[in-house]
Amino acid sequence: MAKPTPLMEHLLRRAGFGMTPAERDKWSRYPYSLAVLALTSFNPEKTDIDQYIGTPGYVGITTRGSFQPNSVINDARQRWLFRMVHSPAPLQEKMAFFWHHHFATAQSKIAGILGSSADATRTMAAKPQSDPAGAKGQIELFREMALPKFRDLLVAVAKDVAMLYWLDGYLNRRGQPQENFGRELMELFTFGVENYIETDVYAAARVFTGWNLVSTGTRGTPQGYWAFNYNANQHDTGVKEFSFAIYPDGSHRIEARSAAQGMQDGIDLINALAIHPETARRLARRLWVWFVSETDAPDADFVNQIADTYLKSDTDMRVVVRAVLLSSHFTNPSRYYQRYSWPGEFVARAMKEVGHIGFSVDTAIPAMLNMGQQLFEPPDVNGWDLGPSWFTTGGMLARMNFASQLAQNQRFALRDAARSSAGTPESLVTFVTERLSLPQLSGGERGTLTDYVRAGGAWTASDAQILNKAGGLAHLLTGSGEYQFV
């Protein structure tokens, strides 16, 4: 098997979820720039691998009755984890994950509004091809628009059924403006809290009056669903004044226009926010944290360059992310392992690297909850607290214990794979270490691991010893502090 370069491993940890042994072989044949091109050039219509769910040769799922990822939230979580492990376009899933954090929406609130967990799951996760009403869940939107023009994504999110429930836009009516979406659009989705004042929130709420929902199909049947509906009768047609420029001529006012034309208010505000220089810089900083480093603050040149690329490309995230991955800030070896892995990244990478045949992604779901990340359930609209914040004592224990569960499940496969490399404790440690992508271990760390292999009696490389210790090493290494970084 060919061995990928450390730079290629870095790229696949950040722009993907790590590599299985087979993927290591594949990606080691790519020159770096071609790998970036390949990772960023996916066609969302051709990356579907869902037909392999539940088939041999892939990570397993756990069904309770039948597998219903469009309407049962736990199954939706399983489907997404399956895709993270096996997608041929890992950056598509990675960016969908990024947008899920950026536009953080939680299924449980929607379930409370609708009085139905199944319908709330549809708004978050339904795949249109297999939903009776063709419902497109928010995550499917993010997968379809994984590398979009950001301005287009903002408009799509403003019309998204889950978002309209999540931030109460479905109730936003003329004379009764609802501030929730307008505020978070500015504070969290675009330019940030320092760039607007309270009256902008009131104006933004009025801008989106009438951006509501309408029922489609027959309520109570599988065909019953919702669609975005611009309700002209409920739109506030008055002038909206902002503290920042809305139009290229510098005007701060959205002038009164007819109810029929009033949807343009929202488009104008979104466009103004999308191309605001502070939005460009905020996204550049977020991409630094997501792709480049959490141990160094965003580099000023990087932020300027990426913000510039964003604005010059008319908010094209494909161009922007490509520029990030090709930038020397990203490729510099000093950036390797400088990001605290998200729980979702940690479990997907562990399953790819340690092994996954005979393991169920379902095991990862309660484990991730204890690590502080439940898919489709960010803690609030600000998303998850990243970086060191993942590493509470409880969160760290949950990672160590997931490593234990996975290693226990995989220890027979590990024993068989390790058998020819298990002549000495040292060679067994080398085998397991190289199976994982890890920074160079110190002499002290290697000493701890070989002492562990020796503990319990003289090493004879018996099958029983290898079974215990190969699995044990996979647990120790995957649960170690070093492994928590990507």
Binding site: L171, Q176, E294, P388, F391, S404, T448, D451, G472, G481
Partner: protein
């Protein structure tokens, strides 16, 4: 540039390494610091609690005219008398247990708590309440700074977050607080080869790996330090998982968290500050204030059941005198309802103090008068204006309960002699 909580934590990574490098002899430390068994339970209502539905000004006509569908009906409130300005006030109808605690003299309510130019952002507002700083709210939390005053080395369980995250309020420069989410029975070490001899080898090796604190890679040291803290607290937390409460707690998250807190207090682990939170208070819509089993009523039901059960448990265990519960939220809500059967972000809110040592059955501060133009209002009379600076409540807790000087911790003298709730 605004420093996020995450960036703040990162800044503290280097300092972290130092505190974890010190060996911790848990039981001795707990004794040394246990001269007082007093503890503080912080209860955060996440989302911005609508104080006007918790403590209802049921004789204010403008309360009803400005909330045609969302006012709590006067006939349903639990009347608790008048404040010093003569405003008649009543508890939300679901707060029946809190009324009993009130009658016991163990509940005090501080009205119109907040600060000048109240932030209407959840995140900024929470940061301000956490840091006790309305100008620069990106640093340590006020209770983290309190924990920093404890004699070194500090017991790793001096603070205890029952959540999956450690809140900024409990973040200090020196002391790190463990996050011990519910159920505490998950807080245990596992190995792929079971809990026998091989499991012991695994735990020994994991502890050795965690002892690796490379000074040139503080982020790795930080994570390893967290692992050490986890391994060092496992066995004591295990005792809490075995706690037999004197009453039956509900299955909701708040009740279960308070049950763990009671277990920690009962087992005398020496914890000074607990953090407990319950969510759902961002009631922009479907507040349904008058529906007996929906929206805000459910929130009050959860709050009432959790706090009352906890109170009764501590009372039965003879621990009520040691515990002070203080409740806060990041802001109150808009006075007029918003047309989505809800209320948007507002300003002044309320705080509660509960415990055996509380000078209860008292309303501190005065209620707002909701007539437009009244000086108790702000933001063109849209919101309730604060009266009591929230930091004066903190000051009272620090000075009179935790027994430390509030001035350096709060970076100023916020003492208010009228706030005699504790």
């Amino acid at each position: 540039m605004k420093v996020t909580r995450r960036e703040f934590v990162r800044g503290g990574v280097t300092a972290f390494t130092v505190s974890f490098a010190a060996p911790a002899f848990l039981s001795e430390l707990a004794r040394a610091q246990g001269a007082s068994r007093r503890n503080l339970v912080v209860l955060y209502l996440n989302g911005g609690n609508d104080a006007l539905s918790t403590l209802v000004p049921y004789t204010d006509g403008f309360y009803y005219s400005r909330r045609p569908t969302q006012a709590i009906l006067a006939g349903s409130v639990i009347q608790i008398g008048t404040d010093t300005a003569g405003n008649q006030l009543g508890l939300h109808p679901r707060l029946t247990g809190l009324k009993q605690i009130w009658d016991q003299g163990d509940l005090a309510i501080i009205q119109r708590t907040g600060y000048q130019n109240s932030s209407r952002s959840h995140f900024q507002g929470t940061d301000i309440w956490s840091t006790a700083n309305t100008q620069n709210y990106t640093g340590t939390g006020w209770l983290g700074r309190y924990l920093d005053t404890l004699p070194s080395p500090v017991d790793p369980l001096a603070g205890w977050a029952t959540t999956r995250e450690v809140p900024r309020m409990l973040m200090g420069n020196r002391v790190s607080v463990p996050a011990i989410p519910i159920p505490v029975s998950n807080y245990a070490f596992q190995s792929p080869n079971g809990t026998g001899t091989e499991g012991t080898y695994s735990r020994t090796a994991m502890a050795q790996l965690a002892s690796h604190l490379p000074p040139d890679r503080p982020h790795v040291s930080f994570v390893n330090g967290t692992m050490q803290a986890a391994l060092n607290t496992l066995d004591k937390v295990g005792a809490v998982a075995a706690y037999k409460a004197s009453v039956t707690y509900g299955n909701d998250g708040l009740s279960q968290a308070l049950s763990a807190v009671a277990g920690a207090i009962y087992n005398q682990l020496g914890t000074k500050v607990f953090w407990v939170t319950t969510g759902g208070y961002d009631t922009h819509a479907n507040q349904n204030a008058n529906s007996a089993n929906a929206g805000y009523s459910n929130l009050m039901g959860v709050l009432n059941n959790g706090v009352t059960t906890f109170y009764n448990d501590l009372r039965n265990q003879g621990l009520l005198q040691d515990t002070l519960i203080v409740q806060f939220s990041e802001f109150g809500r808009r006075i007029s309802e918003n047309g989505s059967t809800g209320t948007d972000h507002g300003a002044g809110g309320l705080m509660m103090a509960i415990g055996g040592a509380v000078n209860g059955q008292q309303l501190f501060g005065t209620a707002a008068r909701l007539q437009p133009g009244h000086p108790t209002l702000e933001n063109n009379s849209a919101d309730v204006r604060f009266e009591t600076d929230f930091r004066s409540v903190y000051a009272r807790i620090l000075d009179n309960w935790l027994g430390v000087d509030s001035v350096p911790i709060l970076n100023g003298n916020f003492r208010n002699p009228a706030l005699t709730f504790i």
